[in-house]
């Protein structure tokens, strides 16, 4: 199969799988709370419903407000298309650089924060300012993790890092364990999952992401929800690709199928783990979140520092 065909398949797969992933997380959470919970396809139904509804716009909404949902989805989708999910033989693998992905996600966040500010409601402003405050701590943490990986693997490209992780020279390294925890914290913050933000509520005192998108409706909201689901899948895919790349990188039809099957299984496991993690934890106060993200930054920094006394250097 050609690189273009695999790439097209991956882009279609991530877009189709993202709402399903959200559905699994919700179902696991509902099960642990002894509720029936919505069926797994509920997120798809919701998207279909939103797409069919008319868009209600505020009078003072500018062109930015109308274009932002499409921009956010496009930027997130572009970031998801360069991550080697089930095969490293995708055509954009060369672009699959952690710094590129961080920049794409940062741009999406920038557009979303602007859209939140555009209407001029107070909720949008609160949400945007909180989102940017969290991002100002999450992004340095992400870059520290990138530095840790780049020093050891000699590259910031995801496919090279995955290949390095699969090679036998790896050994046992505490830096990677620290980087994994730090990346987990960053991923939780980026997606507004539970200790940072609760994706299931509309309680105005605590919400971050929901506050920014409060004014959206119809197909615009569908785009934003799809982009949020895609971002969750993207962060999980990055963690899988860096730290658990087993089954990745095979060639030929069998290798390809193996990669696809293991990727789907790993996504499912990650969704279940995320669900369990979320029900066992309470949401933090907003002003405690910088401490959590600061801890993530520290872990990333410590991972880098410890590399200097490790075997290879």
């Amino acid at each position: 199969m050609g690189a273009v065909a695999i790439e097209a398949l991956q882009m279609a797969f991530v877009l189709l799988a993202a709402p399903g992933l959200v559905g699994i997380v919700r179902a696991v959470k509902a099960r642990f709370l002894r509720r029936e919970g919505p069926p797994l396809i509920q997120p798809y139904r919701q998207l279909a419903r939103l797409l069919g509804k008319e868009v209600v716009l505020a009078h003072n909404a500018s062109w930015l407000f109308r274009t932002a949902p499409y921009l956010i989805l496009a930027l997130t989708w572009a970031a998801a298309s360069v991550v080697p999910t089930f095969s490293t033989h995708i055509i954009f693998a060369r672009l699959g650089d952690l710094i590129v992905i961080t920049a794409l996600l940062g741009s999406a966040r920038f557009v979303l924060a602007l859209a939140g500010l555009d209407i001029g409601t107070s909720f949008g402003g609160i949400g945007a300012s909180r989102e940017v405050m969290f991002a100002s701590l999450a992004e340095p943490a992400m870059l520290m993790i990138v530095v840790t990986l780049a020093i050891t693997a000699g590259s910031t490209q995801l496919s090279s890092i995955a290949a390095f992780m699969l090679s036998p020279v790896l050994g046992l390294r505490i830096s990677f364990a620290l980087a994994l925890v730090a990346l987990g914290i960053v991923a939780l913050a980026e997606n507004g999952r539970i200790p940072v933000d609760n994706p299931a509520t509309h309680l105005e005192l605590t919400m971050v992401h929901e506050a920014m998108v409060l004014e959206y409706s119809g197909r615009h909201l569908a785009m934003i929800e799809l982009a949020a689901a895609l971002k969750l899948l993207l962060m999980i895919s990055i963690i899988i690709c860096i730290f658990f790349p087993f089954g990745l990188g095979g060639t030929g039809a069998t290798g390809f199928l193996l990669g696809l099957a293991s990727y789907a299984a790993k996504l499912g496991i990650a969704a279940v783990l995320l669900g369990i993690f979320e029900v066992s934890l309470a949401k933090m106060r907003v002003f405690r979140v910088p401490e959590l993200l600061g801890a993530g930054l520290m872990l990333g920094l410590l991972a880098t520092l410890l590399l200097y006394v490790s075997r290879s250097l």
């Binding site: 505490i174 520290m298 520092l305 006394v309």
Partner: protein, 219 residues
């Protein structure tokens, strides 16, 4: 080398991490639990050093570390907290974020100082000593940044754990030194414990700011 080094590196790195956790904690019970973890990792690290250096006397050190630093002292601290009835937060000087950054800077500093100095030593003890120095420095930082006497005790004990780690990494430390150090730490701990109760009796608090105003240092 190989796996032996990796595990020694991992355990020493975990000790640094536990020290930073001590710096991060702002509750007394959690602080003592992290201190217990600190002692436990120390025992593991020393036992691993004993294994890779094939030095059986270090196993005795590891056993002492496990008994004294992971079980007896944290247990005694727990009892002190219970008897004094203080479960409140530890007051820190300066914010958590700032002290954490200072802690990271100390780790960087100790690596910067120790790695060039010990260039000729073998890599296992080299990294052990570099990381042990950062544990010692963070212990000092904890003592500086805590107002609460128990927080300072935790800093002191983690500092001592760092010295123990360095001693285990350097080959050929006689057992008699290890025994006397462990003994003196216990004695120091008893003295500190008595002092805690005396301070508490006198000032109704273990916040050392009360001592400062008593001595007339503040206003």
């Amino acid at each position: 080398m190989g796996l032996g080094f990796d595990i020694a590196h991992m355990l020493a790195g975990l000790m640094v991490l536990a020290s930073l956790l001590l710096l991060y904690q702002d509750r007394l019970t959690a602080l003592i639990n992290v201190l217990r973890l600190h002692g436990f990792i120390l025992a593991l690290a020393v036992a691993w050093q004993a294994h890779i250096q094939s030095a059986p006397e270090l196993f005795v050190s590891a056993a002492i570390a496990l008994l004294v630093k992971a079980l007896v002292i944290p247990g005694a601290l727990d009892r002190i907290v219970e008897r004094l009835g203080i479960h409140r937060n530890v007051e820190t000087v300066g914010g958590i974020g700032l002290t954490m950054f200072a802690g990271m800077a100390l780790v960087a500093l100790s690596l910067r100082v120790m790695l060039p100095v010990t260039a000729a030593a073998d890599p296992v003890s080299r990294q052990d000593i570099a990381l042990a120095l950062s544990v010692v420095l963070i212990g000092l930082l904890i003592m500086v940044t805590r107002r609460n006497a128990l927080g300072q005790v935790a800093g002191f004990l983690s500092l001592e754990n760092g010295i123990d780690l360095a001693a285990a990494g350097a080959r050929g430390m006689p057992l008699v030194v290890e025994l006397s150090v462990a003994f003196s730490v216990l004695i120091a701990f008893i003295v500190i414990g008595i002092y805690l109760f005396r301070i508490r009796e006198r000032f109704d608090s273990v916040d050392l700011a009360a001592l400062e105003s008593f001595r007339g240092e503040r206003r």
